[in-house]
Symmetry: C2
Subunit: 390 residues, 2 copies
């Protein structure tokens, strides 16, 4: 053999037990980690399809939807975003992308690749969109779809969605919503709010591993998918055939791809835990913890990045980097000394903020106290460091 065995693979796999309080992933509960180690099953075994049905019902519950076309895509959250773009947009069609952080940029990039025409409505990072502003943009651009992010994780901004579905539908426009960083931290009422396409991440509030992405399409969206003039370009994300694998259209299941039962087990347990606690209680727990965190941070003399309290996301809190402190010194200290992950900024907030995630397993008063102590010590230590240390 010409290519020798890699030496590095001879060492054992050792994974540290960190506390993940950045922008995600968050920690899985022991119950979910245990589920991941269960034996793999075939992609069409009776037990697998039963779990798929349970996962579908759990996703309908967390999205508060009765959409038939509800399933989980075998890819990370980015795959969810791309699934929306390639199913609901045809070449040449206009999509309005609400952009106030990194996710709008990413969505525009994806839409463009499929030959559609993204137009942006923007507001400054740290702010969200008013219905009036979105109405103006819809009127001006006449898009076939509006894409908007409920929780912009790069800035820690919450976007209210009430009334937006009706508004879009008046303009004959579909409403697509990214709830990757928000679901479970704020209410999501997909049917009541008239959302036509919605997806979320497994590795945030749900606390399951990434790699599988809950997604749901309204009947209005389904009509669009089944009446396209052009074929959906990605086989892997073609809802017309993937929907049959997930038994969404009343037809017999058809093999589409080999689903990862491992990730399905994790997601199933995550959904079961949310159902046991109740989605409303989960949301309240996140809101309470976020309040405690904000109060604690302000007591430490730190400033929140989102000035308007009503626009703050409970799941990810953005904190301004204090003057005279290198953000990387803080996050490095927290990681090295405590194995605690605090994230830096991203996109428009790069170098400007810390991002502290309180999601799922980590959204507890004890963890809030812990991360406040970690922040206090880490910022103090960073203040003492010479800038040259960077």
């Amino acid at each position: 053999m010409r290519v020798e065995k890699p030496e590095a693979l001879r060492k054992p796999l050792i994974i540290p037990h960190k506390t993940l309080m950045g922008a995600g992933p968050s920690n899985c509960t022991p119950r979910i980690l245990h589920a991941l180690s269960q034996p793999v099953l075939g992609h069409l075994h009776t037990e697998t399809t039963k779990i798929m049905d349970e996962v579908k019902a759990g996703i309908q519950y967390i999205f508060q939807t009765r959409n038939e076309l509800t399933l989980a895509v075998s890819a990370s959250g980015h795959g969810g975003m791309e699934t929306v773009m390639c199913n609901l947009l045809e070449p040449g069609e206009k999509v309005l992308v609400a952009t106030n952080g990194i996710w709008g940029e990413r969505a525009s990039n994806m839409a463009e690749r499929y030959g559609s025409v993204p137009v942006k409505v923007t507001t400054e990072p740290g702010n969200n969109f008013s219905l009036a502003q979105l109405e103006m943009a819809l009127m001006k651009h006449k898009p076939v779809m509006l894409f908007i992010v409920q929780g912009e994780s790069s800035t820690g901004v919450y976007q209210p969605l009430e009334g937006l579905g009706d508004l879009c539908h008046r303009f004959n426009c579909l409403l697509a919503v990214d709830t990757v960083a928000s679901l479970g931290g704020v209410p999501v009422l997909a049917d009541e709010w008239g959302i036509d396409a919605i997806y979320t991440g497994t590795q945030k509030v749900l606390g399951a591993p990434p790699g599988i992405t809950p997604i749901s399409f309204s009947d209005r969206a389904k009509q669009k998918i089944f009446n396209r003039k052009t074929e959906i370009q990605v086989f892997y994300w073609d809802m017309k055939i993937l929907g049959d694998y997930w038994a969404c259209f009343g037809n017999p299941r058809v093999y589409h791809h080999t689903i990862s039962t491992t990730l399905l087990y994790g997601l199933r347990e995550a959904l079961a835990m949310v159902a046991e606690e109740g989605i409303q209680s989960v949301i309240e727990r996140h809101e309470n913890c976020a309040r405690l965190l904000r109060e604690g941070l302000e007591k430490l003399g730190l400033q929140l990045y989102v000035s308007d309290a009503s626009k703050r996301l409970p799941t990810i809190t953005t904190v301004k980097v204090p003057h005279g402190v290198q953000w990387k010194d803080v996050t490095n200290y927290a990681m090295n000394r405590f194995l605690v992950e605090i994230a830096g900024g991203l996109g428009p907030t790069a170098n400007k903020v810390f991002r502290i995630g309180l999601m799922g397993y980590n959204a507890s008063p004890e963890k809030v106290e812990y991360v406040l102590r970690v922040m206090q010590e880490s910022v103090e230590m960073a203040k003492k460091m010479k800038p040259s240390k960077l």
Copy 2:
């Protein structure tokens, strides 16, 4: 809340311990299952990127390649196939697809979605392609790429690849090879054979869970990717940016998507186990087990589907369904009585064959004996059943 908690999620998750001897997935070893339950890490944590480097080196080893652009795509094997198509084909370009089973059909479907033009060279199911036949087709069609499957899992046919790279390159054509069902059961020498794009499955010989797919591109393929006239349509599979996340081009790592560290741990351990045993020994073990299985099946009076012994795949053995037996009675009995999965046919072999997989953890003489006993009893029982039982 309008959508109530699903009752089914209140029950505990109970996964049976089956013996998976169908066409895949195969069973994971206890070491791999244990790795899956390790804590999730962030997608750019030091430990994560170190494991990504180890996984990359392990993939280079199993493919026997020094290709820089070697990584794992965060999707099932179908994602690997689609990654090849959307990176290496531009709209209007011709791809020659060698078709003697289901995978060629699937590849053509994918290629067509991206606007390229698939043309087929075919041979009957149960047979493979000669160099001469492929040369004729290359001469006739002048494609930019030839796509061929080394192990056609629907028929149990092995496709030799020696000499094919040189042949393709003489026609200024790239060679793309699917080794999902073959790698680890037969030799794969990507560099020596001049393969330009290659991918495999994790859930077959490697015995890790599905959901992450090893893939590698030659420098010739990389040239094509970086000199495309049109943009790669799928963000998720765009090797130009995904390659940077995997540090394939010497640039700093850039966030592309949230990789599933869970699946990464499983793949890492699977590659480590192959490296410990040695890829050559793994291949010999599979060849020996396949020989024992074929001998045993013939002793039971069963007939192999692939008549030419040199064309039989060691990993998946196809067996003709005996006269007077309903195949489903046999596989149902094996599953219900022994929790053993035997697969039926697929595509051209539907209703005609059983497919018995000996892959990874299950490729042992003990398992061969076991599956032979299971087959014997299941076929006997099926013979006694009235056809009306179906």
